[in-house]
């Protein structure tokens, strides 16, 4: 079957090559929009990274994120407190924003991706996968864990001179999570996602 695709950047009709080789990327010849990158085992990689990011995420929300001492008072905070403190002080909009952009959306993304990948890996037919994939596509622009990490680092640099800071287990787990998550977003592009969905239906 001769498969064609329209570039999402400029709508040029492109004849798809049978497969995109490893370390190669498929670009639109007219507007240079990157359509997909070749990977020998994208499905296996994506699945294992989803699992390990879920583990890293679980670790980063369950332990001490940062501990600090000021004037002999010490305090430990966990990651979820960035939201809870805002909520307690009645800044509901900001609290909801931080919670949604840094926890709800990424978690939902990982779980929905799992919902696509597992049936495919097991060779089963998935139910309502197009709906799931549409949700994933809508979620992608709103995944801000990397932005949040930079925000954390900026806040810590500001605090550095004021307090005696030390990092908890969650801090390192979170960095690990953000690195894996960013790679996952780079690996799973829209082209691969919809090809998987069409394969699993």
């Amino acid at each position: 079957m001769s498969k064609k695709i329209a570039c999402s950047g400029c709508d040029l009709l492109i004849q798809l090559p049978p497969q995109v080789g490893e370390h190669n990327k498929l670009c639109c010849p007219r507007c240079q929009h990157t359509i997909t990158r070749g990977h020998p085992n994208a499905l296996g990689y994506a699945l294992s990274i989803v699992f390990s990011s879920l583990m890293a995420l679980a670790l980063s929300y369950n332990f001490v994120f940062i501990a600090f001492e000021v004037n002999a008072q010490s305090r430990e905070i966990s990651l979820i407190q960035a939201t809870l403190v805002l909520y307690d002080q009645a800044y509901y909009f900001l609290a909801a924003l931080v919670l949604i952009l840094t926890l709800v959306c990424p978690l939902l993304y990982l779980l929905l991706l799992l919902r696509v990948l597992i049936p495919l890996k097991l060779g089963m037919k998935g139910q309502r996968l197009t709906y799931v994939a549409t949700l994933i596509k809508r979620l992608v622009p709103w995944l801000m864990v990397d932005v949040f990490l930079i925000g954390v680092l900026v806040a810590l640099i500001k605090m550095w001179s004021l307090a005696n800071l030390s990092f908890g287990l969650s801090f390192w787990a979170y960095i690990l999570f953000v690195l894996q998550f960013s790679y996952l977003l780079y690996l799973v592009d829209q082209f691969k996602l919809w090809r998987w969905v069409n394969d699993a239906r």
Binding site: D11, L12, N71, L94, P141, V147, G151, A155, N198
Partner: protein
Amino acid sequence: MMLDNQLSSALSKPEIDGENLYSEGSAAANGLVSCNVCHGLSDSGEEYCLDCGSKLAVRIKHSVQKTLALLIASVIFYIPANLYPIMQTKVLGSTLENSILSGVLLFLEEGAYFVAGVIFVASIIIPITKMLAIYWLCRSVMSSKPIKRQELTKLYALTEFIGKWSMIDVFVVAILVALIQVGNLMTITPGLAAASFAIVVILTMCSAQCFDSRLLWDKAQ
């Protein structure tokens, strides 16, 4: 109004059927519609995508109008975001209020050049660049003069990529509020600008998503 005329001519274009309205070699010029959700191709007569069932449109409907409307809304919210304090610091009874710009200046005075640089780029350079870029893209689609399609498409990709990074300042405030709750010595509370600025970022992101870069290529050169 000249702008109105340009706008309506740019917008009515996709609704008239004809070959040369779409760029040469495009799916639309070949009687096909590319689904905006799953990127599958259907015949242009179809109303719903055969692959994913979502409603088909050759180009995003009223793309320029939606983009500009959201852009104007974000410009309006950008005013309180700069005038009001983004956070209030209370130290031993005295209150210090910082707007986005005065916060950057404060960091500069303290010698924290890296932090000042990050906040300056994320909260001032990126949003302004983004708003100008979106306006320029819309203008290019509407204008009758030849445009640099390649460069504008790159500009659009960049606009989409940098959008979320403006949120840094909002997150910094959120984290500082959570961190600095040490006894009664010092407290930090978010100001009105934090929420306004978050709305600016969200609106510009929605605005960029409404823009259809394929319109740039449909223009006759």
